[in-house]
Symmetry: C5
Amino acid sequence: MWMGRVVGRLWAARQAASLAGRKMLLVRPETASGAQTARLIVAIDGLDAGPGDRVIVAHGSRVRDLTVGPDVADKDVVIGIVDGHELGPS
Amino acid sequence: MWMGRVVGRLWAARQAASLAGRKMLLVRPETASGAQTARLIVAIDGLDAGPGDRVIVAHGSRVRDLTVGPDVADKDVVIGIVDGHELGPS
Amino acid sequence: MWMGRVVGRLWAARQAASLAGRKMLLVRPETASGAQTARLIVAIDGLDAGPGDRVIVAHGSRVRDLTVGPDVADKDVVIGIVDGHELGPS
Amino acid sequence: MWMGRVVGRLWAARQAASLAGRKMLLVRPETASGAQTARLIVAIDGLDAGPGDRVIVAHGSRVRDLTVGPDVADKDVVIGIVDGHELGPS
Amino acid sequence: MWMGRVVGRLWAARQAASLAGRKMLLVRPETASGAQTARLIVAIDGLDAGPGDRVIVAHGSRVRDLTVGPDVADKDVVIGIVDGHELGPS
């Protein structure tokens, strides 16, 4: 799992049937210094997150099955909205 | 899942039997700034995407099963053609 | 598997039901020189590790099943707390 | 899947029994500019590829099952020998 | 799979029960130029490899099942000790 910031959304004109009605978020991973990487991940949102939210994103078949359901053609899922975090001295 | 731009196609002389008749696209992931990474992914196309299209690519066994079918020897699949996206301030 | 240093914790306000009661640690991978990468991984802790501990993190469905259980929506798990390690000349 | 160039072979003195008789190739991924990355992947060859060939490498359990068989202790497999490819303007 | 150099070992005070008695090696991937990356992987050793050995490391559930067994909470496994390799001109 990783922690990232929701930076946007996207819409698909043509898409796999199993994505119908799913909200797709653009999320940027956060590094230890609090910076955001250039990398952009598209994750399915099952928790009603929105731009600006800091979220936890997990990847995997079981994750998907336990959250958004087995018939979704994706396995990057927003599984938490971060309330707070604490970083010690590195 | 990630968002990228279709930049080309490729053809294989000899290939696994289960790739016969499948269209393979060369796709470059897009970063948060809209740039394209140097990395080049070969994805199976099930949506009739073409060069210049911005697409969503997913990776996984279930993804493949739900879209191009279980007997395809690959699990990077174009599962959406992006219609629009919205990036907030990072 | 990789070796890293626990640098913090995080809490989620809204989260997948299957994460309830799970401790989530922020872990930074360590490189061969002993430095920590900028990358930050969120791992489920099943061994009561804490900030400052050097841990071994594994990723996978079976790993999770064998440690924290099959119904956890994540597959990055702290599976060891490092007691010592020995690096030869590279 | 990704596209790369076969740059060599390797042999193992002691190895997992299920690798016996398998040809292992060293392959370097190719980037969008045609350069090769420093990264070196070891892939099982089921198509009789050789040094200099541009190949398609896939990764996954099903890929392996559909090509070199389920009892091979690896899941990076050469599944195509590239005949031609076309890169549009990026 | 990838090729790397064994650079050390590590021991865990507290660890998942399924790691008991398993030897864990620190391995650094090798690049095309023969250099070692900064990245450090912890792999289970089933072939009695040691510091200085050049090894092949595979990742995956089936790999683990076929080599060290299904009940090991890890899926990075040393599956070969390299005897020789040949790199052509790139």
